[in-house]
């Protein structure tokens, strides 16, 4: 059963100009028609490079930014249409873990006060004593010492701060936790600790995650289903293993071939698909397929004129490419630039 359903969600930010009259001169199409569903108890991973709209989408689900169009159905309720006060009450069930643990914790509040604030706002726990008992329990679960209660965020290391961020989300007993780049600010050895913690908590508390990250390896490690975003829309979605084994969208293939693997044998043998150029501006997305300006498989017809819809290729494997089948069976070969094999020996 799906806990969260997005239907054609769009978030457009107006670009304004003028001193007296705010004339809208254009829009930044940050999220431009995303439909996906997250099943209860699972982890949905959203990957993409900077500027692809993944963070905006995460914030839109919590209505931290306004949704321009579309529906966000959470457990039967369309959040996009809820009045603000009702949305506020719903947020108990949807919590967020942010990327920068120091920036998202108030430096003047101690840990107990940070964690109790949300509980008080949502009326969890009858009095301070009950709340403290609950907080102590959660702190132990995320692996923080009990004496953390009276300490302040700056007294903790990066990894511990991220644990505090996780505790703050979990203390409200949410159903869905949106993790926006939960480990990207951490050192590798600490990353692994936090990833393992997230998995453990999911198992023991039956949580559903939406993990937003740019690191494909991290997302693959933790997710059941992965959606790849490019310039505001999903270009491919598949179960984690399938996406790795058979990436079908040219962008996914390029992305996968670009991720460095800590193994010289793999690195030497791999064929890199190097993309030329940079991400186009989301304020003026290219017509047709958004990826056609950088796509090494670009065709003369359709690509530049017709925007491909996300279509189902196999069970659970959705791709937004006109030529996915032809590329897979080799009828269409690389056009833009030759494959560049890794050259280093030794």
């Amino acid at each position: 059963m799906s806990l969260l359903e997005l239907d054609d969600v769009k978030v457009h930010f107006p670009v304004k100009k003028g001193l007296v009259f705010d004339r809208t001169v254009g829009h930044v199409y940050a999220v431009d028609g995303v439909s996906l569903s997250v099943r209860a108890g699972q982890t949905y991973g959203l990957v993409g490079e900077s500027g692809c709209g993944k963070t905006t989408l995460g914030r839109a689900i919590l209505r931290l930014v306004d949704i321009t169009e579309g529906a966000v159905v959470f457990d039967g309720t369309d959040l996009a249409k809820l009045p603000d006060e009702e949305m506020r009450r719903h947020r108990q069930r949807l919590q967020m873990v942010f990327q920068d643990p120091l920036g998202s914790l108030n430096p003047r509040q101690n840990i107990e006060s940070i964690l109790a604030e949300g509980m008080a706002a949502h009326g969890i726990g009858a009095d301070a004593g009950e709340r403290r008992a609950r907080i102590t329990q959660i702190l132990a679960r995320v692996g923080l010492p009990a004496n953390a209660l009276s300490r302040y965020p700056h007294e903790f290391s990066g990894g511990q701060r991220q644990r505090i961020g996780i505790a703050r989300a979990l203390v409200l007993e949410p159903d869905l936790v949106i993790c926006d780049e939960p480990v990207s600010a951490l050192d590798v050895s600490i990353q692994a600790q936090v990833l393992n913690l997230l998995e453990e908590l999911q198992e023991s508390m039956g949580l559903t995650y939406l993990v937003i990250a740019h690191d494909l390896a991290v997302v693959r490690h933790i997710s059941d289903v992965i959606g790849v975003m490019y310039l505001g829309s999903l270009v491919e979605e598949a179960p984690s293993d399938l996406l790795y084994a058979e990436p079908r969208h040219p962008y996914t293939r390029a992305l996968m071939s670009a991720v460095p693997v800590p193994d010289p044998a793999v690195e030497d043998a791999r064929e890199r698909i190097l993309l030329t150029g940079d991400l186009p501006s989301p304020a003026a997305p290219p017509p047709g397929c958004r990826f056609h300006t950088r796509c090494p498989w670009k065709q003369e017809t359709r690509c530049a004129t017709e925007r491909p819809a996300l279509r189902e290729l196999a069970d659970g494997h959705r791709v937004a490419c006109h030529w996915a089948e032809e590329i897979a069976d080799g009828t269409i070969t690389l056009t833009a630039r030759e494959k560049a094999p890794a050259q280093l020996s030794g």
Binding site: I190, Q191, E199, V259, V261, P262, R272, D278, A342
Partner: protein, 337 residues
């Protein structure tokens, strides 16, 4: 003779009324002509200050340098500032992590590139502009003549890093130091930049000292890898040897804690416990001991020496190293906490 030979480099920060902080604690490594050498470690291991010391970019006050860093026979650490300025740019060049803050925001790219050509190669006017355009073209910036007139903010992140590389290679330096050159970039752009660096090394024979936290980048690029922990090299090996048989428990743990794109799903990560803050002074024993699973009492008897526990040329600083399968394994002792 190696092009750069760093011998027992120490860097100590001393503030008034503060305890001295030793950021780098006796680091030695060599870089040969045309070789790519990696310095790998997590934040706080001393990798970036090492590069700054080599480039003579550390402030004179409050910093004490020890040891030697011989570049082609000259000790970089004791070189007078004026001589260092001549060397920097022509013989040594550096690429920084954040291209936006390394470029002057109010000066067009072209002026920043020609400045170097004027200072070191005596080129002026049209000739300098032509050479600058050629350099930008060389690093793969399309439409270079137009780009020369643009300001850093008008360029994308990948483009800025390319411009910075163009400036670094403007005088065909013999040693290029790259400090996390791709960390601020997206993976597809990172792949482009790494490819460019590889090309430069292959074609120009430039030696490259690559400073990074990303073992994936190291695996694809570096011939020799030095793993740093708390200011000391804890393992040094060729890249194949290092990844095949990580010998120091830290290097071993680091490789076990990286989620790999090609690993079967469901394989649990094996993180290193604790954080860099849980460490002891190298003088008292192994700085990694408090986080180590293979810790014994022997670890607390002074600095462990860099030895070759199983293969010649593969060095590790550990009294109880992780040996590859087939080698005789010493008695394993469980950690006590």
């Amino acid at each position: 003779m190696p092009l750069l030979s760093v011998d027992e480099l120490t860097i100590t920060f001393a503030g008034r009324g503060q305890r001295d902080a030793r950021a780098v604690d006796g680091v030695s490594f060599d870089v040969d002509q045309g070789q790519v050498v990696g310095l790998v470690g997590e934040s706080g291991c001393g990798k970036s200050v090492t590069s700054l010391a080599l480039m003579g970019l550390l402030p004179g006050r409050g910093v004490r340098l020890g040891g030697r860093a011989e570049f082609d026979g000259t000790d970089l650490l004791t070189l007078p500032a004026a001589r260092m300025r001549d060397l920097r740019g022509t013989q040594l060049a550096m690429i920084f992590q954040d291209p936006l803050s390394s470029l002057n925001p109010v000066v067009p790219i072209g002026v920043q590139v020609t400045e170097i050509l004027a200072r070191h190669r005596g080129m002026r006017g049209e000739a300098a502009r032509k050479e600058a355009a050629h350099l930008l073209d060389r690093v793969g910036i399309p439409d270079p003549t137009r780009r020369l007139k643009e300001y850093p903010h008008q360029l994308s992140g990948g483009m800025r890093q390319r411009a910075l590389i163009a400036m670094a290679v403007a005088c065909a330096p013999r040693l290029l130091i790259a400090d996390e050159p791709t960390t601020a970039l997206d993976v597809t752009i990172q792949a482009q930049i790494l490819e460019l660096l590889k090309e430069l090394v292959d074609q120009e024979g430039t030696a490259l000292l690559m400073i990074t936290h990303d073992l994936g980048v190291v695996a694809g690029l570096c011939e020799q890898v030095n793993v740093l922990y708390a200011g000391k090299v804890v393992e040094s090996a060729g890249r194949r040897a290092l990844f095949d048989a990580p010998t120091h428990p830290y290097a071993h743990g680091l490789l076990g804690s990286i989620p790999r794109l090609d690993a079967p799903r469901g394989e649990a990560l094996r993180p290193i416990r604790g954080s860099i803050n849980d460490r002891i002074d190298w003088a008292d024993g192994c700085a990694f001991a408090p986080r180590c699973d293979r810790y014994t009492m022997e670890c607390l008897t002074g600095t462990p020496a860099l030895t070759e526990p199983h293969t010649p040329g593969h060095q590790a600083r550990c009294v109880n190293p992780v040996l590859p399968e087939g080698a005789t394994s010493p008695q394993r002792t469980e950690a006590t906490g």
